[in-house]
């Protein structure tokens, strides 16, 4: 008899404890991020597709067209073209194309670059209707970014 009553009372109490927990959550602020209208800042180590880094001194790219990234890429999705600079030594970047349809975001290109000229972007809104939209002209991208 005592056990019967004890069980009822402890059971009822546990139900009230449960209600207490949910009402606490009820009054806490919501954690929903309403995606298209609100966005969270991307984490620093997020790996988007690669992009060229701006050289703060010259305002152009840091790339010297050594072609290491092109060689390092296992999928062959990077194409680097350069022109001989007039009156100076070395080459100037004329074209940097990334075929993102083949890229697996391995990051070997970023690792292989000795000049810190490429990095991962934070771009993730990449929906598109045509395959051609995923061949990025990274030089143009860098210029447009100004």
């Amino acid at each position: 008899m005592i056990d019967y009553l004890k069980e009822i009372i402890s059971g009822t109490w546990s139900l009230f404890v449960g209600l207490g927990i949910t009402i606490k959550y009820f009054f806490q602020p919501v954690v929903t991020v309403q995606y298209p209208r609100q966005t969270l800042p991307m984490t620093p180590r997020f790996r988007g597709h690669i992009e060229l880094v701006r050289d703060e001194e010259t305002g152009g790219t840091k790339c010297v067209v050594c072609g290491m990234c092109q060689k390092a890429c296992p999928s062959g999705c990077i194409t680097v073209e350069g022109e001989k600079k007039e009156g100076g030594k070395g080459k100037v970047l004329s074209e940097y194309t990334l075929d993102f349809t083949k890229c697996s975001l391995c990051g070997l290109c970023v690792e292989s670059c000795n000049f810190g000229a490429i990095t991962f972007s934070k771009d993730y809104n990449l929906a598109g209707l045509r395959k051609e939209a995923y061949v990025f002209d990274l030089k143009k991208r860098l210029e447009e970014k100004k």
Binding site: I8, T12, L15, G18, L19, I21, T22, I23, Y25, F26, Q28, P29, V30, V31, T32, Q34
Partner: protein, 330 residues
């Protein structure tokens, strides 16, 4: 030709009651979704209108545009009459509920009895709808509803009998008038009549949840097991009317609990009694009903019946005997 003022009064009350029931059904769905959202730290409906307030309207239009399919093999009469059988008793029960001192359609001397008489028709509606749908899920659901309601009607009515013994009347208006003053005069704290009154309120509330098939006792439409239980075959507004009936029954249950235990339209401090106090208490109880739904998981069917037969019925019987002894002695 001039209408008798009594006829006009009845017409106004009829329209008012139907509007109240429909409005409550619509906005309790909104409240349910909003409250569920916030308990889970989400937002809930927000796109349609400010705070999603037009969501019930959008849902209603969506339900109304759907084709009313009558599946092959159903009982044509029972299938169509069942939603009405759930809705009409709920609206009938509103007739005798006093929302304010003079705000009652018909003050009937046996109002309490009438409400419980109509409340049990609700089960019949569900049973007929489920049986008429020719669907196995629906029939299982109907069997559950009936046994659940039979089991929970007993402790509920014993508690009500206890209360009627204390108040000495079944007239809801008089029951409220007896609880005049402050909250210490409410029946829930009427410890002089029976020290178990708060427990009686708890029993009544639990039985109300079970009678209206609310979680954690929603065995009738246990989605994960029975699709939608008795409503499985109902399309569009047939389902909509069932749903409105369910919510109207919750409103009735909360109103009766308010009248019997929480002093109806009386103010807790004896100041400015009025319909606002009634609505405040009623909506607090409804809030609690929804709060409970989003806190507890559904029980199994056996523990549901065990709770009634092994715990609620003995305790309510004990309370009945205790109360009658107290009345006899003091």
């Amino acid at each position: 030709m001039s209408l008798h003022p009594e006829v006009i009064r009845l017409l106004i009350f009829l329209v008012g009651i139907i509007a109240f029931a429909a409005l409550n059904a619509a906005y309790l769905v909104w409240l349910e979704r909003k409250e569920a959202g916030h308990i889970q730290r989400r937002i809930g409906p927000k796109e349609v209108g400010p705070f999603g307030l037009l969501q019930p309207l959008a849902d209603g239009i969506k339900l109304m545009t759907k084709q009313l399919i009558v599946p092959a093999g159903v009982d044509p009469i029972l299938f169509k009459i069942a939603p009405i059988l759930v809705m009409v008793p709920a609206i009938m029960s509103f007739v005798t509920i006093p929302y304010g001192e003079n705000l009652v359609a018909r003050n009937i001397d046996i109002g309490l009895l009438m409400i419980f008489a109509f409340a049990s028709v609700n089960v019949l509606g569900l049973l007929l709808g489920a049986w008429g749908s020719r669907n196995k899920y629906a029939v299982i659901s109907a069997a559950r509803v009936v046994s659940q309601n039979v089991a929970y009607e007993i402790p509920m009515l014993i508690t009500v009998v206890t209360l009627v013994m204390i108040t000495g009347t079944m007239n809801l208006h008089e029951i409220v008038m007896q609880q005049q003053g402050g909250f210490w005069n409410w029946n829930i704290l009427n410890l002089a009549a029976s020290p178990l009154m708060p427990v009686a309120f708890l029993i009544f509330f639990v039985c109300m949840l079970a009678e209206t098939n609310r979680a954690p006792f929603d065995m009738a439409e246990a989605e994960s097991e029975l699709i939608a239980g008795a409503f499985t075959e109902y399309p569009g507004m047939g389902f909509g009317v069932f749903f409105m009936g369910e919510y109207a029954n919750i409103v009735i249950g909360a109103s009766v609990a308010t009248i019997l235990f929480l002093g109806g339209w009386q103010c807790p401090f004896g100041l400015f009694p009025g319909v606002h106090w009634f609505l405040l208490k009623m909506y607090f109880l409804i809030f609690t009903v929804i709060w409970i739904r989003w806190t507890y998981p559904r029980t199994t069917f056996y523990s549901l019946l065990n709770l009634s037969w092994k715990i609620l019925i003995p305790i309510s019987f004990f309370n009945l005997i205790l109360t009658s002894a107290m009345i006899k002695v003091f």
